[in-house]
Amino acid sequence: MATTNPHEDPNRRDFIHIAAAAAAVGGVAAVAWPLVDQMNPAGDTLALASIEFDLTKVALGQQVIVKWRSKPVFVRHRTPKEIAEANDVKLSDLRDPQTDAERVKPGKAEWLILIGVCTHLGCVPNFGQGPYGGWLCPCHGSIYDTSGRIRAGPAPLNLYIPDYTFLSDTKVKIG
């Protein structure tokens, strides 16, 4: 067996240094990740995936707010006039161009279901305010139209549409 002087074998010594440092960095990262990830949504929070809602509660022309995943969801029963207004808008006038048909389910244009969170900084826009017949956000003045599309103010995007399906003509499942 060779008796090697470590001072004369720099490669082997370097390897041990690098391996030790790499193991230490890997170990720290492995410990750090749980400490970071614990702040992400917990299992029970993630489990609150969907709710069912009875549409007969919403009178024509009105809005009902339901809570889904701690967020307000707007369920709007739109009048034919409001639907026509939403369809009359030219796409070139929109900041986040989308037709009204893309924002409702086929044949269900009277039901507009939106996440009621302003796409600017997360406030809840007030229904029936603002010049476009839709919503006005009280925080920084973003204005949405009868399709929930952004028309004025600082918000960059239209109000989001949650995933939802019609279980029957009067029942909808959100999430």
Binding site: M39, P41, T45, G116, L121, G122, C123, V124, P156
Partner: protein, 432 residues
Amino acid sequence: MSGHSTYEPKTGIERWLDVRLPIIRFGVDLLDFPTPKNLNYWWTFGGILAFCLVTQIVTGVVLAMHYVPNADMAFNSVEHIMRDVNYGWLVRGIHANGASMFFLAVYIHMFRGIYYGSFKAPREVLWILGMIIYLLMMATAFMGYVLPWGQMSFWGATVITNIIGSLPVIGPAITTWLWGGFAVDNPTLNRFFSLHYLLPFVIAGVVGLHIWALHVPGNNNPTGVNVKSKEDTVPFHPYYTVKDGFAVAVFVLLFASFVFFNPDGLGHPANFTPANPLVTPNPIVPEWYFLPFYAILRAIPDKLGGVIAMFGSIGLLFVLPWIDTAKTRSMRYRPAARLFFFFFVVTCLVLGYCGGHEPAAHPFPGGAVGTFLDADLNSFVWLSRIFVVYYFVYFLVITPVLGLIETPLPTPESISSPVLPQGAAASPEKKG
């Protein structure tokens, strides 16, 4: 530290301790620290801020004994503190108003640093540590304001965390991570309480570094002229312990006037309504000490742009030591710089005023005068924009350019010379 230690242990036990843990020497050297003899009252705000930090920690520890960080109980536990806990109204009144007093003092402290050039070499690290403390204070105050779980707490938390969500790509993931859910909710309240308890101790640690960095070059002074000799200084104790003590006493008068006569004057009525995630109160406004930044955020008609401008306005303060080209420290000898500085102070106040009003409201009588681009000219949003421009021009144009082209007034030879009769030598020790 400049100068040698003057401490000489007198008793046996002091000598024994001094070679093992020289903690008495440390304290004596702090008290003996040679301090410029011409410091004015603007220099007392360091001591006032230390007083504020201790006050907030002591009252905060007490409040944590009674407060419940749970979305269903937080609001009621705060009412319990206010109504039932012995002296709870007093402790919470001090803590809530103490935050405002803390910011009042820190803003004066910062303006003083800018006016007298205290951020200039060799005090850049001292200045940056101060800015880190300021950022930590903002984070702590923001999370503390969320804890009572009223409407303004909840929606303030929503708006501020959504600001982070405007970052491209990673923004939404970070927001969800901060919330611990899909909106501000119980997990958010829990972690904000934990961090609100932690951060003041981090602040205390950085304050230690701040004082350490102060004691290497020593204090700046109103002339901005370096200390030239021992004759320019006096020991910190008793001269500045007494001066700071007097200033703290006066400051406490103002503090107490809020605590006892107007305890909710700086708060907002909406926070007396428990948090409701389905209804945003109208209008929502941050605490007064965030209003200038809120005005900057709203002045930019683009979400990400507004956020960048807001953080940029603070970021510029970090690099101030390198964008200020002036060789003369103190604006006492820079008449032009002084003028621009005073207008900068006015700018910060006007931005604060704008931040407290609806963007579309009219700041001047007479109503609408006509829309320019996206808003009426007589609106707070346009008033903010004018002053936002000055804010950035002050740092990015005036500060670097003026330092190069302004001819400053002659600066005194030493700290002592301006107080001496014309022609007299700056060596007061020879006058007996």
